[in-house]
Amino acid sequence: MSDLDAFRLETRAWLEENCPESQRGPVTPDMVIWPGKNQTFPSDDARLWFERMRDKGWTCPDYPSEYAGGGLSRAEEAVLREEMQRLNCCPPLTDQGIGMLGPALLEFGTEQLKAEHIPKIARGELRWCQGYSEPGAGSDLASLQCKAEDKGDHFLINGTKIWTSYGVESDWIFCLVRTSNEGPKQEGITFILVDMETPGVKAKAIDLISGASEFAQVFFDDVKVPKTNVVGEIHKGWTVAKSLLKHERKMMSELSKGVLGGTAALPDVAKEYLGSTDDGEITEPLYRDAIAQYEMNMRAIGLTGYRTHQEALARKMDTNVPLIMKYLGTSELQIKDELLVDMMGLRGLGWKDEQFNESEQRATRELLFNKALTIAGGTNEIQLNIIAKRALGLPKGPHS
């Protein structure tokens, strides 16, 4: 038996013993375990599950064990992921620190920053949010204006960040700030970590058309931040950001595939709201066709993801293919959202009152919330620009 097989058996046994029954099965939004200074848990089982995983370093299984991570190899991490999927385990911790800031610190951070922050991320002691976008900047991220003046041992930050997920709930924020106006706009940007308890930092929730408000605008008013909080070199934050953006796009396209896409099955909704024949065929042929079209497209997207995975294993990956996944996935989801509501009729447009069942209410919220999918993390237009340039080698227009 190979080491990896042994690891698999061991892991499987451990998970079966240590993952409480209530922490298995489809994860609903109210089951998510968040970190933070004043961490609370959805349930006692959730706390137990978190603590057990944390103690093994498996909240961040691929982080080095010296920083409270699991110290697993890439192959071991894949095994752990597979075994967790097998039991349908709830993630023991969810935060932007884990998938985004942590890797960036490991790659670009000073020893001091790593020692101070990575263990806290892995142990869920702080909740992190991200400060990239600014009002008016949109897709043109590099045109950011939030200013950090050099004051010797610290920077003085003034400006604002928008579209910060969980900005109100977080303890710390990692930001891009402008430290110089010279040279191309990508230069003179610095990546810095800010404690949100510092005087002058304020986060305000943004109301969305969907009624949800996980986003915030964060204001900085003469905020003093020590220079030791800079990740990477001063003025060279764009390098750090680009590496992070890759993670973000990947997360967005996984988000659209997984959590959000997996909810209501169109054929079931069609049968329930439009009816079906004795053979189980949806009675309204136009919706039946539209559903088949959607299901085909999602199947194609899923298989293409799998093809890329296979190509990567065979070291034959066409690196252009991942570029298309976010564009395709998010567009299809919006088609699905509209279709779902079309079939539910007015039942799919409920805003409040208990007249609507849970799946109807969810259909409405997703219809509205998912309008963000083709905008956030690189608009569809930007994605198409990138595909045209990188995958197709089309000449740069004066604009793009």
Binding site: S143, L208, I209, L346, L349, W351, K352, Q355, L368, T379
Partner: protein, 375 residues
């Protein structure tokens, strides 16, 4: 000249545009939303003073008899500011329903009261959440001194805030899908009628109604003019919805146009990007077609043209599809701020999303158009 506004109609349009933008801008909608009020009584009385409540009422009953085209113009302009008022439910659809009834003392009195703005009415017909207008189960049976009513209605707009509900019903011995029975005048404040409010994303007042063992007087039952009456009222409601969809879409489009001319990205106005230009140009072509088809449908219903039903289904299907395209693109082109509640763009999308479903989606209306065309 049915596709071009007459001088009178143009004047109405201008004054409506001015009224809505000054007295009932989108901020007024937001204030009503905040206060959870259905309408602003003060504004409504101004609209009554302008004669808008009497536009479709016959002259002999104190109305202006200005026709459906005039009401359509008001609906388009009102939709551009998301104006909330009893105009479409009471002054358009309910008045149309009464117009298609045989004259009676009750009917004439109610029409006069609606014209004068002394009363507001709601029209309750549909009984299913899917648009199946032929299914009518609400019954009214003869009883001592009048009738006894049992049944339910689905998602009726402004039912609770109105003074009277015009409820379609059939007699117990009528065929299952014979919807062209008659209209009952129901007092929403009376005992025995139950409302369940239905909160939709456009944040207007809707309610499911159930009514059981409810007694009305003999003269509170009105007879339809003829078998086609119910369909004509529904066509009126449908074309008015198409007008509102056109208004919402046009406003969302024009705001987006303004935005892309102003907004810069990568050192250029985003309106100079060719991909956006082509998409906007295409939307413009659809809006121009929609304008034509909406005007044509208004005129067809107003003049009781033979192809009125076909024209209405055409207008609603095109309005649904154009609104979907334009209001969705409006959000996308606004980028991040497009999905915030702070900006109005999302409100136009939400209102249009409800209207797209109300009175029939595109699949329904294309099928009806095909049937009416003989295929």
């Amino acid at each position: 000249m049915s596709l071009v506004l007459t001088e009178e109609q143009s004047i109405l349009q201008q004054s409506a545009a001015e009224f809505y933008s000054s007295v009932m801008p989108v901020t007024a909608f937001r204030q009503l939303r905040e206060s959870e009020a259905v309408f602003d009584a003060e504004t409504w009385s101004q609209m009554v003073e302008l004669g808008w409540s009497s536009i479709m009422v016959p002259e002999e009953l104190g109305g202006l008899e200005f026709g459906l085209m005039g009401m359509g113009i008001l609906a388009i302009e009102g939709a551009r500011t998301l104006a909330k008022s009893p105009l479409t439910t009471s002054a358009a659809v309910s008045v149309a329903a009464l117009n298609f009834c045989k004259p009676s003392e009750q009917r004439d009195a109610l029409l006069s009261a609606l014209a004068a703005g002394e009363k507001m009415a709601a029209f309750a017909h549909l009984e299913t959440t899917q648009f199946k207008p032929a299914i009518i189960r609400t019954q009214s049976a003869s009883a001592a001194d009048g009738y006894n009513v049992n049944g339910s209605k689905s998602c009726v707009e402004n039912a609770q805030s109105s003074d009277v509900i015009l409820m379609t019903a059939r007699s117990p011995n009528a065929g299952f899908s014979e919807s062209d029975g008659f209209i009952l005048l129901i007092d929403p404040k009376a005992d025995g009628i139950e409302f369940n409010s239905v909160g939709l994303i456009d944040e207007r007042e809707y309610a499911d109604i159930s009514i059981s063992d409810f007694n009305i007087a003999k003269d509170e039952k009105l007879e339809w003019n003829d078998d086609a009456a119910v369909a004509q009222v529904l066509d009126t409601a449908t074309v008015i919805a198409a007008c509102e969809l056109y208004g919402c879409s046009l406003e969302a489009f024009e705001r987006t146009l303004e935005y892309v001319k102003d907004r810069e990205q990568f050192g250029n106005k985003i309106g100079s990007f060719q991909a956006l230009q082509h998409r906007l140009a295409h939307q413009y072509t659809q809006l121009e077609l929609l304008k034509t088809v909406v005007y044509d449908a208004l005129s067809a219903v107003e003049k009781n043209r033979k192809d009125a039903a076909l024209a209405v289904s055409h207008a609603k299907a095109l309005a649904n599809d154009t609104a979907r395209l334009v209001t969705t693109e409006a959000i996308q082109m606004h980028g991040g701020i497009g999905i915030t509640d702070e900006l109005d763009i999302g409100l136009f999308y939400k209102r249009a999303r409800v209207l797209r479903t109300m009175w029939g989606d595109s699949v329904y209306h294309r099928s009806r158009f095909a049937s009416l065309s003989g295929y």
